[in-house]
Symmetry: C2
Subunit: 395 residues, 2 copies
């Protein structure tokens, strides 16, 4: 039969980018396109021991239905940690445990967006978030990212113009894909503008723990005096993405609505997975593990940057990220970016064309994204040397 697909899903079309990445699906491809943690980033022994303990001591809780808000001990643990360590839990705030941080984006959109409402986002931004906003038929308006975060004049212009703006979506730390970290001054300005124009902020912070150089900058949520910031945090990058455990902290009235939304989406996040995270946070060396990941990724990031310098030289511009997983490279104006990426793919190096991260397919960009957490050191060396060869075809 012929299917009549809803407008919201019909508008999410497979893209040229997917075709390029398909070409690199076989073996023997250098995966600079992914965003997966390194296998060494998983605390396998901890998870093994914790899981055995839980299933020995409290199997029924782990296997029975849970509540939509999340496993109560984990909610308390995360609240305490995020309050003491990051000062992001306001007096009237509450927390839900979600099925990955993707679900925070989904629930915030579900609760806040009517059709044609506007989401203001850094441009470029995380494709998974942009697709979720699109799936609610939100209208995307992009604000350029500078070396220290969103262009604040452009943001204010957008806020002035867009009366249907509902929230500003930002990844302030080591942004995906740009690698940029928003300065403290811009975080304050962003909050001030959100207040002035009465919109919410969705602060997505999956990479916050992965800082390799420089000093931590307080979250935007620390500025939140009137319940304007929805904070999203995740265990995907420090414990395991396959586990699908993340959380959101926001004003309790918003959390109540997001809970209703979650109930209709997947009832609750798996209980065993939540118990594992809770046990890990309370009785294992989470901070030591994070430090190990940081060292590992810092070395890879340094390696990749030094190879960009030696193999690509002036051919690309980039800002060395202070953390996170990605490096954002800009090609010269006279180079066909899509062609560069597809030539790299033909030569068995997968990179993501910048178009993937733009608000609209017609938005021009000369950039592509590199990831350094997925490939091994050897693969980084091999892949960058190949990109150096590809470069020669374009100069």
């Amino acid at each position: 039969m012929e299917y009549k697909i809803s407008d919201r899903i019909a508008s999410l079309k497979p893209s040229a980018i997917r075709e390029i990445l398909k070409a690199t699906a076989g073996g023997d491809v250098v995966p600079f396109s992914a965003g997966n943690p390194a296998p060494e980033a998983f605390p396998v022994d901890d998870v093994r021991k914790i899981t055995a303990d839980i299933l020995a001591k409290d199997p029924i809780t782990a296997l029975q239905y849970g509540i939509s808000e999340g496993y109560t001990p984990l909610r308390e643990t995360v609240k305490k940690y995020m309050s003491e360590k990051h000062n992001v839990v306001g007096e009237d705030d509450d927390i839900i445990i979600t099925s990955g941080a993707q679900q925070v984006i989904d629930l915030a959109s579900k609760v806040l967006l009517n059709e044609d409402d506007v989401v203001i986002s850094e441009s470029p931004s995380f494709i998974g978030a942009l697709n979720t906003f699109r799936s609610y038929k939100g209208r995307l308006v992009g604000v350029d990212v500078e070396d220290d975060g969103m262009n604040m004049e452009m943001l204010e212009d957008v806020l002035k113009k867009e009366s249907r703006a509902r929230f500003i979506y930002t990844i302030p730390n080591f942004q995906n894909p740009s690698g940029i970290t928003m300065s403290w001054e811009k975080r304050q300005k962003l909050y001030e503008l959100a207040k002035k124009y009465d919109v919410l902020i969705l602060e997505d912070n999956p990479y916050g723990d992965l800082r390799y150089t420089g000093e931590d900058i307080p979250c935007i949520k620390t500025l939140d005096t009137d319940g304007r910031v929805i904070y999203s945090g995740s265990f995907s990058k420090i414990l395991s993405p396959g586990m699908r455990v993340a959380f959101t902290i926001a004003n309790k009235n918003l959390i109540a609505k997001m809970t209703v939304g979650k109930q209709a989406s997947d009832v609750h996040t798996p209980v065993l997975n939540q118990m594992i995270v809770n046990e890990w946070m309370n009785n294992y060396d989470m901070q030591g593990h994070i430090n190990k990941i940081r060292e590992n990724y810092k070395a890879r990031c340094d390696l990749m940057c030094s190879l960009i310098d030696s193999e690509l030289g002036d051919f690309v511009k980039y800002v060395k990220p202070e953390g996170g997983l990605f490096i954002w490279c800009t090609l010269p104006d006279n180079v066909d970016m899509m062609k560069f990426c597809s030539t790299a793919a033909q030569n068995k190096v997968a990179v993501v064309p910048g178009t993937a991260f733009m608000m609209y397919p017609e938005d021009r960009t000369q950039c592509f994204r590199l990831n350094f957490s997925t490939p091994t050191d050897d693969a980084i060396v091999k892949g960058m040397k190949i990109l150096g060869e590809v470069k020669k075809m374009f100069i």
Copy 2:
């Protein structure tokens, strides 16, 4: 600040029923209101052993990102099982592993419903499904449930009238809340009508394995020659609901769209959880375990029915279910159903007022729902005796 909540979520209001159930949240309440599996229904030893094996042999796969369609070996296992055992996998069909069967309902709605599109549902029906349809601003049209399933004349009348009908939602086996099983004749008629009026069918079958008497009736999906049926199956009632692993089988074009929808919802279902289910299906005695659950629940169902007869007698009418978890009781016309339920709650027995399962709050019903899987035998005896006392206040 004041929040402007989206229309879709603003319309999901807390109800009088929630208030009644709140009154029974304390300890020492007989839980006839829940739908939880009995603790004895979990194959705890199997899960313990399987999980240890997986985390010993293949921890990185378990902890790393997976693909949105689901863990490939599990997809193959379920497809094979559902094909050989239930004959529900058509040549052009495909499968996604979902985060519970609630997510099948969510994804089907996401892919198929525009605002004001119509969902035709058995009335009464599962509140979780109804809320999901509402969360997509679908318009609900109910069709009465008779002792052998939907009233087919009423269904055809609705189909004639509702040109925006997109799909028919049905729980054909041991329906929640009515306990009713749709006859083979009505399943055929339902499919024929769906074809005639060119709508889809969402066949939700979470209780299919829990038959205590009578013969299995083939799924509606077995009749599907033109990709019209979206089948939903779950491991919640035979393995563990806390694990959140379910699946949907449908035409590959629909599955492709649902996969796009899932990516925007939660990226993928946790990998470890999927690996556990796969291992259990392949190398453990799933069928033996299902048989044990059936015996256990059959005894509870028999016990509860005999106590309805002895304690409530002619005061309620009910159809003894051939399986599932619920008994649907109808009070005499002159009894105030809501008052009966709240009096039961005051006397520490929680039952769910039938209103919860109706399309609209103004739909009248004299029914309430009893569950026999959650309470122990002792609790069933105690609770039914209390309901016998409550009855006396109403005659």
